[in-house]
């Protein structure tokens, strides 16, 4: 199944970010949208999730969907513990007992069980980002949106986090739309990689499909290098 974005138009004052923008997203796959900063990647995610409204265009494939969103910033509630932050998005949906179970499960997957009772200010930025990833996966959404989720992390942590992300995704293959300006990130996780033009209004410049399993890519860096080279040549 495909989710279609048709004739999308969005402008802020006199800046047209999208004009007649079209893109098809494969369901239950990870689509990485690669483009330079300021091209409107965040705007696109906000339009898909309903945070902002398009001037015109057809987003009907997205209107009745539920979303998880890993924002650029962690957007955790600083007065809630790690556990409470994850539980916050679950307790309206599940009963108290079940939401606790689910929250604990996902906190465990991102390796933060020991820190479940900590407040965001007491853990590192990378750990906070992992909480936000756990929150996104724990929430039973149709589509997961990610806005440069692995940025501003050191190499080792980034790899760990990407590995954790892939593990989570393998267990529950939901539709993921990730925007980034880093080819490497796309090379690690993308099934489909969409490359945007360099100037606004943005359009799709190129599109790649990689059938390599993500776990293999993590294990063998050669794959990633190959994909990365292909992407950078086109980028």
């Amino acid at each position: 199944m495909l989710l279609d974005i048709r004739n999308l138009k969005k402008s802020y004052r006199n800046i047209t970010v999208f004009d007649n923008f079209n893109l098809s997203i494969r369901e239950n796959m990870i689509t990485c949208i690669l483009g330079p900063s300021g091209i409107g990647k965040t705007t696109l995610l906000n339009l898909l999730s309903g945070i902002s409204k398009p001037d015109s265009g057809d987003l009907t494939d997205f209107t009745n969907k539920t979303f998880s969103y890993i924002f650029q910033e962690t957007r955790l509630l600083k007065w809630k513990t790690v556990f409470e932050n994850v539980n916050f998005v679950l307790k309206d949906i599940y009963g108290e007992k079940k939401s606790r179970e689910i929250a604990e499960k996902y906190i465990d997957i991102v390796g933060l069980s020991k820190f479940a009772g900590y407040y965001p200010s007491q853990i590192s930025g990378g750990m906070q980002q992992r909480v936000s990833i756990a929150r996104a996966f724990a929430y039973p959404s149709d589509i997961l949106l990610m806005d440069e989720p692995f940025k501003s992390l050191d190499m080792k942590l980034k790899k760990n986090l990407i590995a954790a992300f892939i593990k989570l995704w393998q267990s529950d293959k939901r539709t993921v739309i990730s925007v980034t300006h880093e080819a490497e990130e796309a090379a690690y996780i993308g099934n489909d990689v969409v490359i945007l033009t360099d100037a606004i209004p943005a359009s799709v410049k190129d599109r790649f499909t990689f059938e390599l399993v993500q776990e293999q890519r993590i294990a063998d860096y050669q794959f990633v290098r190959q994909i990365k080279r292909t992407l950078i040549e086109s980028f």
């Binding site: 999730s49 309903g50 945070i51 539920t66 979303f67 998880s68 969103y69 924002f71 910033e73 957007r75 509630l77 600083k78 007065w79 809630k80 916050f88 998005v89 309206d92 407040y119 200010s121 007491q122 929150r135 929430y139």
Partner: protein
């Protein structure tokens, strides 16, 4: 490590009191007049007698009750109007000049006008209410400005109910400002209550007692009542801090690393 720091703090406080008392004693000796500056020991003797009088607790309870009443009214009204002004720009624009006027009005003008309008016992309540009200109101408005729209956005994406957004995002964002308002307005309100009591002379009041002591030239009693007022003010502040600590566990933990 922590306990030794606390012990040291207590030590410094004690030292500070000893120095203050010594200075007081020396100056009172130099001045040599109990009417201008009573000695510390005569002040404490008269404090001791004061505490043993039949009306003492009635007097302080009456003053405390006025302080609490004034504070409670300003807290309730200030929070409500603060909410409206914080969420509604038009209301804020209309309301803001009024706040400026109240804030700029001299305490004495408020008390004198209240003397004309109210019974003696209610003058301090009104005066402290009017002085605290803008503080509570402004803090609530500031707190509402402090709500991070990014958190609200996040909650909307995750389809959190409106009640959840209000209770778990709005309120915790405003709470630190509200607590600051409580602590400041309690401090100011208490002083205003006593000032208003001096002028309005209700039957039972710290302010009335201060004024009567002054008229009869019992200056040691004036000092003794002042000490009572200081101690009570300090006690309130401690109480507020205690509540604050409980309410902001996440903040205190934050500071635990230092």
């Amino acid at each position: 490590m922590r306990t030794s720091i606390i012990k040291k703090d207590v030590l410094y406080t004690i030292l500070s009191f000893i120095l203050l008392l010594a200075a007081w004693k020396i100056i009172s000796l130099i001045v040599g007049s109990a009417i201008i500056l009573p000695s510390p020991e005569s002040t404490f003797v008269s404090l001791f007698h004061l505490v043993r009088t039949r009306d003492f607790f009635l007097i302080i309870l009456a003053s405390i009750a006025r302080g609490i009443a004034g504070f409670a009214i300003s807290f309730v009204l200030g929070t409500i109007t603060g909410f409206f002004a914080g969420f509604n720009k038009v209301f804020y624009r209309i309301f803001e000049p009024l706040l400026v006027i109240i804030r700029s009005t001299p305490v004495m003008s408020v008390i004198l006008i209240a003397l004309i309008w109210f019974k003696a016992g209610n003058v301090p309540v009104f005066a402290s209410f009017l002085m605290s009200f803008p503080i509570v109101c402004t803090n609530v408005i500031e707190g509402i400005k402090n709500i991070d729209p990014k958190l609200t956005e996040m909650a909307r994406v995750y389809k959190i109910r409106k009640s959840g957004i209000i209770g778990e995002i709005y309120l915790p964002s405003i709470l630190p400002f509200l607590m600051a308002a409580i602590s400041t307005s309690f401090g100011i309100g208490w002083k205003v209550v006593i000032a208003a009591e001096v002028l309005s002379q209700p039957d039972f009041a710290i302010g009335t007692s201060l004024q009567t002591s002054k008229i009869y030239l019992n200056i040691d009693k004036v000092f003794a009542w002042t000490i009572v007022a200081i101690l009570l003010g300090y006690l309130f502040e401690k109480l507020v801090r205690l509540i604050e600590k409980r309410a902001f566990k996440w903040k205190r933990e934050n500071a635990a690393g230092y």
